[in-house]
């Protein structure tokens, strides 16, 4: 049962991720990406990380994709369909990166298959909001505060770049 649910989620994630780059219409790419992110959230939920799963839905599917949608909606309709990609310098570079990534992937899968899987028994509150917060606000306090500064930079940058004052 668990396995079945996992494979459904995995196939959904891979298929929708493929659909993101294969769709001609930009809106369909955005929708596929949302499905891919939700499928990943589903896997988090199955991997005893419910808080992470919900945050994935709130932040990735619910907030970051809002940015994507806004861009698509602001474009003129003619521009929301991607033209056929012609071979060129960019195309060659893309191919190079893809081949490199594929080799890396094969290497990693080879290494992983030789390792024996370790089955660990998880503490009952593993992945819960309490255990996560307990680590986040004591051990990893500095990164949290630094994240705040990073977010501040994002706000200031966007406010400056959009040039609303003019």
């Amino acid at each position: 049962m668990e396995n079945l649910f996992f494979y459904i989620a995995a196939i959904l994630a891979v298929a929708s991720a493929g659909s993101v780059i294969l769709q001609r219409k930009v809106m369909y790419s955005v929708l596929s990406l949302i499905v891919a992110l939700l499928a990943v959230a589903w896997m988090y939920a199955m991997l005893s990380a419910p808080f992470l799963a919900v945050v994935q839905v709130i932040l990735y599917a619910g907030a970051i994709m809002v940015l994507f949608l806004f861009v698509v909606m602001m474009l003129k309709y003619e521009k929301t369909e991607i033209q056929r990609f012609r071979p060129g310098l960019l195309w060659c570079m893309g191919l190079l990166v893809a081949v490199f990534f594929l080799m890396k992937l094969i290497y990693v899968i080879n290494r992983a298959s030789s390792l024996t899987p370790q089955v660990a028994t998880l503490p009952p509150d593993f992945g819960s909001i309490k255990s996560l917060g307990g680590v986040l606000y004591t051990q990893y306090l500095l990164p949290v505060e630094l994240t705040g500064i990073l977010l501040l930079v994002a706000v200031v940058g966007v406010a400056l770049l959009s040039g609303i004052k003019k």
């Binding site: 419910p50 919900v54 839905v57 619910g62 909606m73």
Partner: protein, 359 residues
């Protein structure tokens, strides 16, 4: 295993049955209440064999009418996305009921059945997450219609929904601090305590400002008057201009279902959930004096009915607000969200923190 599935399906049937029926009745109640408030007679024309029963046949007539209307897809628009949008409107409105507890644990035939479809340990965040996805139904509807008024409506909706979602998320933090849990059933159970022995420690007592902020932000999320700028039927008609038949009905019903879910969450967070003051699992009691024992089944039944009544009260209250207040102006709406609600929600968190720390 199979018994668990059957029990879960039963709970889903009860909850969705309640929600869909109340949504249908709300569609009638909204018209009837506006009529009463404006000194008209209101929806009372639908009759079956001469019986009118205050126009209660209207929801049934509406359903039949909407199902048999032409399902029209704008030829210039995007048919798939156009169909997806109303589906999402109904779907996201319905799934949030999975975590709303409608009663305490029921002990029957040696089993403990929590009266909540799924007791997830992310609780309220599940509602924030999937309620937030309702954003897409509005935006996709406007985008796929190929009509400038629809697009205007959906852009307005998008900006409004994300602004108030922030205030909504921040206002919940206060109640999470007060009860030290994020699970709705824990929060509802925590509200069974008493302050000074007599005042029920409901969310409204612990978080008066938080309640007002949450209720306002949640009403903005339902996109109803006074926050109905995405629709604005007197100026831009709204993001569902190009919809007909039950697809339009899906948005319409989705709105009422959202009203019920807001009423359910407000009840669970701020008005004691299923709790009835001075009724515990043992029976009726007066603190420090006496207890009248009541059978367990009766107590659970009373509590579930109390929850239902509270939900109906808040649905009614939202209809009342809808027919009382005028619509915001757009700059007022955005200023209210960002310059008033968000800072106030932050202040609420700080004050709650200080009070909790001092006491």
């Amino acid at each position: 295993m199979y018994l668990d599935v059957i029990i879960t399906l039963l709970k889903i049937a009860i909850v969705f049955g309640f929600v869909l029926n109340v949504a249908a009745i709300l569609s009638w109640a909204e018209r009837k209440q506006s009529a009463v408030m404006q000194d008209r007679i209101g929806a009372n024309r639908a009759d079956v064999l001469g019986f009118r029963i205050f126009g209660l046949f209207h929801p049934i007539a509406d359903t039949i009418k909407m199902l048999t209307k032409e399902d029209w897809v704008p030829p210039a628009g995007d048919a798939f996305v156009h169909t997806l949008a109303p589906f999402l409107a109904l779907f996201t409105a319905l799934v949030v009921f999975a975590v709303i507890p409608f009663g305490d644990t029921l002990h029957i035939a040696g089993r403990d059945i929590p009266l909540q479809i799924a007791d997830l340990n992310v609780g309220i965040l599940f509602i924030v997450a999937f309620g937030g996805l309702g954003f897409y139904s509005v935006v996709l509807a406007g985008w796929s219609s190929e009509n400038k008024y629809s697009l205007l409506g959906s852009i307005r909706a998008a900006a409004q929904l994300i602004s108030y979602e922030l205030a909504l998320g921040l206002s919940i933090v206060g109640i999470v601090m007060a009860y030290g849990s994020i699970e709705l059933d824990d929060i509802a159970r925590g509200q069974g305590q008493y302050v000074l022995g007599v005042i029920p420690y409901w969310g409204i007592v612990a978080q008066p400002l938080g309640f007002i902020l949450f209720f306002t932000a949640a009403m903005a999320e339902t996109k109803r008057v006074p926050f109905d700028l995405p629709e604005s039927e007197s100026e831009i008609i709204g993001y569902f201009t190009e919809y007909s038949g039950m697809k339009f009905g899906a948005f319409w019903m989705g709105e009422f279902i959202e009203v019920i879910s807001v009423a359910g969450v407000v009840t669970a967070l701020y008005f004691g959930g299923w709790q009835i003051p001075f009724l515990s699992n043992q029976g009726v009691f007066i603190p420090g004096l006496f207890t009248i024992p009541l059978p367990h089944l009766l107590v659970v039944l009373l509590q579930v009915s109390a929850f239902g009544l509270k939900v109906l009260f808040f649905c009614w209250f939202m209809l009342l607000v809808r027919w009382t207040l005028p619509r915001f102006r757009y700059d007022q709406l955005m200023a209210f969200g960002w310059k008033f609600m968000v800072p106030l929600a932050l202040v609420n968190i700080a004050v709650t923190g200080l009070i909790k720390y001092v006491f």
